[in-house]
Amino acid sequence: MYFSEELKNAEKYGYEYKVQSGYLFDKFDIFAGFIEELYKIKEAHTPKDP
């Protein structure tokens, strides 16, 4: 079992695959807001800050 995006990437490097079964989902970048805000906090502080 592989994540679809991993398979799409592997295809670029010459892997071939034939899908037999699996699970389908919708997709959304759920962590975008969270990561952006945390990264801003990290960027605004020096490595010495906790």
Binding site: L7, L24, D26
Partner: protein, 601 residues
């Protein structure tokens, strides 16, 4: 249950308590008789397994099993209501569901097309209704309703001797025929099923509410130990509740057990109910001492509920008082802030910085005559360990000691009046104050930024997840997407696609003396979670996940999900990408799992 008579039965109700206060009942109360004995344990194990996968982000705090043994006084045999979990499960496994629908398709020998009049002899053709009698089986008729002909759809009932045995819907608005039986879907092309799908509803991750008030109800505690024959023995315990400082020194008690008992007992006050008691590195030996003491205190009015995970003490909850109505919890602050206390005090720039202490003076390895009543000349700098020699730590210690020590000996020399007891208590309390200030600053920061108190979660990852759920998950839901909670077989299947990170080693072969560049790549995890990097979710309109069999690429251009597939690798690739988990035999005859990236087939 083995002692049961045939006339006895037991009423059983099992509840699972999660760390964040959520309680779930396994199932409705069940009535079990003697014959269910063997299945009971297995059933509970399976159900637990199911629940633990389902609430994978929640820590299980405990399980309560309520039971009552009853005599059957009705005079009639009572039926057991016990069912194995597989039978009780509300959601059937998606592939089982699909297999069932497929069996029906096969059973009714359905032609794989929508040319209904070719399925048999047309008996009725009236307005939007078509009734066809099967050529072979005369008792079987197909009733096709074309009411929605505009949307290219037909509802089909299969009747045997006039009784409907199967109903399904055919859609033919694309070049493929889509046949829907219950929650299963078949995509038919050229009289062949090219894809089977089964959609099933799943629970979703719930948002959590922000805290209204900042919580300051916590205590910091520290234990000092002396080393005797390589064994750590506690000889001082201190705590600080934000207002008062408390200290307990072993020479004031019968022994160290008595000291710990007194210290813990003094925490079991109603005014501390609901408090968290933070110990930095509780999972280390401090926790063992505390747990031993707590267990010895257990009685009708004191109950202890410890939670361990991967060798860490996540939480030790103590219920106490009349009807056990009060509680306190011991937590390991190292799991929230994984740095040594001196590092934390420095980074948080708190008032009480971590000081140094002559640990080795209290260890028989370095000082054969450890004396807990010692009063005399200040121990040599060597007893203070590595941190004393760093910077001006020792001279600062001397300054602090001289300014804090008002008692002078008869020569007027404070340096020869150094008391182990007094200095241990001073040092131990300073640690408590230092940790208290660190946690206060940390809690203020987290509360002001994210409206959550740090006491709501015991570890840094669980706190981060709580922040995501309370502040950011709602924004995702506003966009119409939900995070599915995957369990059971689906979880086991998808888990296979998760392997450890691929690592590689570079051995520099540059000529000696020639400088090379070194690159430190960091924040890769946040990068792979940032904008434009998609995660599997389900949408508001269709709160389901779809399981399929067949080649999904035949019907969808860029499907998103987890696929079971046959992979043909390249012959050569410097950094192979796709990994598989592979069991190999060890020299000792056992077998272990290894993750490999195979090439060349």
């Amino acid at each position: 249950m083995s002692k049961f008579t045939d006339n006895q039965y037991v009423i059983l109700l099992t509840r699972i308590h999660y760390y964040d206060g959520v309680t779930n009942t396994f199932d409705k109360a069940q009535r079990l008789d003697k014959s269910d004995q063997e299945n009971l344990l297995k059933s509970m194990k399976d159900t637990l397994n199911l629940f633990s996968q389902y609430y994978v982000e929640l820590e299980v705090a405990g399980i309560t099993i309520d039971y009552r043994v009853r005599e059957n006084l009705t005079g009639k045999p009572l039926k057991s209501t016990f069912l194995a979990p597989a039978l009780r499960e509300k959601t059937k496994y998606p592939d089982k569901q699909l297999r069932k629908s497929t069996e029906k398709l096969v059973k009714f020998d359905l032609p794989l097309n929508n040319n209904y009049s070719s399925w048999g002899e047309v008996k009725v053709r009236y307005d939007s209704l078509l009734i066809v009698q099967d050529f072979k089986d005369k008792s079987k008729t197909y009733h096709i309703d074309y009411t929605d002909r505009n949307v290219k759809r037909a509802l089909v009932d299969i009747k045997i001797d006039g009784v409907t045995r199967l109903s399904f819907e055919d859609q033919f608005n694309t070049s493929d025929l889509i046949r829907k039986i219950n929650s299963s879907e078949y995509i038919i092309r050229n009289n062949t099923i090219i894809l089977k799908k089964n959609s099933f509803k799943v629970e979703t991750l719930k948002t959590i509410k922000a805290d209204k008030k900042i919580v300051k109800n916590f205590i910091t505690l520290d234990i000092e130990t002396t080393v005797k024959n390589r064994e750590h023995i506690p000889y001082c315990i201190c705590y600080y509740d934000g207002e008062e400082k408390y200290s307990f020194y072993v020479t004031d008690f019968q022994d160290y057990d008595d000291m710990l008992n007194n210290a813990i007992s003094s925490l079991l006050r109603s005014k501390y109910s609901g408090y968290q008691i933070y110990v930095h590195n509780l999972s280390n030996f401090d926790g063992v001492f505390l747990l031993n003491t707590l267990v010895s205190l257990v009685g009708d009015n004191i109950k202890v509920y410890p939670i361990f995970k991967d060798g860490n003490m996540i939480n030790i909850k103590i219920n106490f008082g009349p009807k056990l109505k009060y509680n306190i919890s011991f937590r390991d602050s190292y799991l929230l802030l994984p740095l040594p206390l001196h590092g934390l005090a420095e980074q948080f720039q708190v008032e009480h910085a971590k000081t140094i202490f002559p640990y080795n003076f209290l260890s028989d390895k370095h000082n054969p005559s450890v004396d807990l009543n010692y009063v005399g000349f200040i121990p040599n700098v060597n007893y203070f360990g590595d941190r004393a020699s760093a910077g001006s730590n020792f001279s600062k210690y001397l300054d602090d000691y001289l300014s804090s020590s008002s008692e002078k000996n008869k020569d007027g020399n404070t340096l020869s009046n150094w008391s182990v007891k007094k200095e241990t208590v001073r040092y131990c309390l300073n640690d408590c104050l230092s940790l208290y200030e660190v946690l206060t600053k940390f809690n203020n920061y987290i509360f002001n930024k994210f409206r959550l108190n740090i006491n709501t979660r015991p570890t840094l990852p669980s706190l981060t997840f709580a922040i995501f759920r309370s502040k950011y998950l709602a924004a995702v839901e506003k966009q119409g997407y939900y995070v599915p909670l995957i369990n059971g077989k689906t979880y086991q299947d998808i888990k296979q696609s998760y392997t450890g990170g691929s690592t590689d080693m570079y051995v520099p072969k540059n000529p000696e003396g020639k400088k090379i560049f070194g690159y430190d790549v960091n924040s890769l995890y946040p990068k792979s979670m940032s904008r434009g990097i998609f995660m599997p979710v389900i949408s508001r309109s269709e709160k389901y996940v779809t399981y399929f069999e067949g080649n999904i690429l035949e019907t969808e251009k860029s499907p998103f999900g987890f696929f079971n597939c046959e992979v043909k690798t390249t012959q050569k690739l410097e950094n192979p990408i796709l990994q598989v988990k592979h069991r190999i035999k060890t020299k000792g005859g056992g077998n272990v799992q290894r993750t490999i990236s195979p090439l060349g087939c």
